[in-house]
Amino acid sequence: MTTLTAACAFGVIAVLIFVLGYIAFQGISSLSWQFLVQTPKPVGEGGGIGNAIVGSLILLGLASCVGIPLGIIIGTYLAEMGDGWFGTIVRFVADTMIGIPSIVFGVFVYAVVVLQQGYFSTLAGALSLALIMIPIVTRTTEEMVRLVPKSMREGALALGAPQWRVTKDIVIPAAMTGIATGAMLAVARVLGETAPLLFTAFGSRFYNIYLDEPMASMTVQIYNYAISPFEEWHAKAWAATLVLVTLILFINIIVRFLTRRKY
Amino acid sequence: MEHRIIDQQLDLLRDKLLLLGGTTEAALERAMRSLTARDSDLAREVLEGDKIIDQMELDIDRFSVEILALQQPAAHDLRFVISVAKITPILERIADHAGSIAEAALILNDEPELKKYIDLPLMAENAAEMLRTALDAFTSEDAAASRRVIEQDKVIDKCYHRVFDELITMMIDNPVTTASAAHLLFVAKHLERIGDYVKDICELNVYLTEAAFIKHSPRLEAA
């Protein structure tokens, strides 16, 4: 039994290492400082993904600012008070949203925001990403908050703490590591999304910080590079992928570090 | 759940106590017979048998402590073990008195008979019957019977005073008898003490059944 599980674990890790290694192998040759800071240029002139990195981080930051707090609040509500019919409905909606393909959110925001306003925008892109994040954060938060032992809540209640303080001071801190993991999952998921951004943030060839203009993103840039017929751009797609994966890895490590169990 | 581990142990403890009680009864009866029938061999047997009684006492002591430590009895169980632990040395002392009577018999049997024993056998019979009833009452946890036995002790006390007066008179009238009469006086005293001890056993039975301490409280004793 131990041998079998060890073999399975080894198999999974081997696949992961192969994928990462292959990406690194393919991408490392095109990686350079210029690649990281320059904007895209025509074939043969070099160019990079500098604007796409910044764009992705802005989109991700905006989406996280909305999606993570909202998800935590809704998830905590579901865990602490969501046993009634309303909670059941919210939970059902969240579950359904998790199952919806991400392109649907892109199309939805395209129809509701982009078409109404008449232009692609950073805000629209961030909104579609936030919509993907909310149900993921909600459900993981609910699971994690439910895992906090009843005895811990009772300990605080027995000291005369009102319910909201018990939730804020005891339950959420106790579940923080798990909630952070859930948030990380959501962040990693949307950082890798391309489809919803094609309809919303669209993409851009320039550095941009304005939220009401189209915004470049790494995934869209990778998409553009990858579907081109040029060998040089294919290499750039690999390099951009390597940067994306590294970025996700770093965000993971940083969040782990920040939310490590202090007590 | 009527079959508790402690039940077996308590039953065994009771059996051990009754065996000690029976042996003590027999020792008393034989000691008196060695005196009245002038049978010195029997008296020596009684003295020999005292060692066995001492062993029984030690055995019950050890077993009581073991039950207290390992079974941690409560309520009635606790009172039972405590009562047994307190009755055991009382029985041993009664047996010691029987031994002393046998010793007196050894001396008196070598002397000429002073007179026919009448009151002493009567006292002894009374004491033996009290002891038997007291042990029965303990087995059946009959507090009423125990209280009757306590009353019965007065008969022995009365008898003792009569014998005492009689023997003193004998000593004054006929100083030659003084040594023998003194020994008989001790025998009477032993029997009187045995009556008191039986009373203590009865008080412990009342404690066992009613959880009431009637020792040193004449008012309750009368109740």
């Binding site: 811990m152 005369g160 703490a161 106790a174 | 009527e2």
Partner: protein
């Protein structure tokens, strides 16, 4: 006047009645132990005293629970201040995911008892001292409470309860998960705390009830069968049921 006076208390989980006509008076600075088989209602009863059962939506209470002459089930009772006055220690030690210091400070903070930071420190130290824990933790007040041993965690929870200056302490099998040495420490602590507090303790360990309590109450099937001085309870109980229970005649 009794510190706690319960009369004709009935308790329901939905339609199931868990407590039947419980009446008991607990004087100030008495330790009363609640014993009885599992599911007899002794813990439920304990939790009616500080309204911890309020967290169960289907629970319903009838009858009176008077503490210092005030009915705790009056509609205008402030549950938070009731629970501050009637502290509770649970079966499983349940420290918060905070430092040792913050665990004890929490109750003081939320109730706003302290005047300033120095006062807060003093109160935390006093509570830890009263719970016989200060010596063992004073060099690591800012480390995690989870780093303490089981017995220390339970004493930390007692310190936490003491910090908000309760008058009554309810203990729900406080030593059932502890080894004999840690149990003994808790028991010694209870005897010590008796000088200042009224204590109600639920326990499955009858020797423990015998050792620490002044009076013992025996519960069975949601009824209070007998309450008597502990000494009488364990040598000569009034009720046959009690005798059968404490001598192990039924499980």
């Amino acid at each position: 006047m009794s510190k706690i006076s319960v009369s004709d208390l009935n308790f329901f989980y939905g339609k199931a009645q868990a407590l039947h006509d419980i009446s008991i008076d607990i004087p100030e600075r008495e330790v009363v132990a609640f014993i009885g088989p599992s599911g007899c209602g002794k813990s439920t009863f304990l939790r009616t005293l500080n309204r911890m059962n309020d967290t169960i939506p289907i629970a319903r209470v009838e009858g009176k629970v008077m503490i210092d002459g005030k009915d705790v089930y009056e509609p205008n009772t402030d549950v938070a201040s009731l629970r501050r006055k009637v502290g509770m220690v649970f079966q499983k030690s349940n420290p918060f995911p905070k430092s040792i210091f913050e665990n004890v400070a929490y109750g003081i903070r939320i109730n706003g008892i302290h005047k300033n930071r120095a006062d807060l420190y003093e109160r935390v130290e006093k509570a830890l001292n009263d719970a016989a824990l200060l010596g063992e933790v004073k060099d690591r007040m800012n480390t995690s409470a989870f780093g303490l041993s089981g017995g220390q965690q339970q004493r930390l929870c007692i310190a936490r309860a003491l910090a908000v200056q309760p008058e009554v302490i309810l203990m729900d099998e406080p030593a059932s998960a502890l080894d004999p040495i840690a149990t003994q420490k808790i028991e010694e602590l209870i005897v010590e705390l008796k000088k200042q507090y009224t204590i109600a303790i639920v326990t499955h360990n009858m020797q423990q009830a015998a050792r620490v309590s002044d009076r013992t109450a025996f519960f069975m099937l949601g009824k209070l069968v007998e309450v008597n001085p502990t000494q009488k309870m364990f040598t000569n109980p009034d009720e046959k049921l009690t005798e059968d229970y404490i001598t192990g005649r039924f499980g």
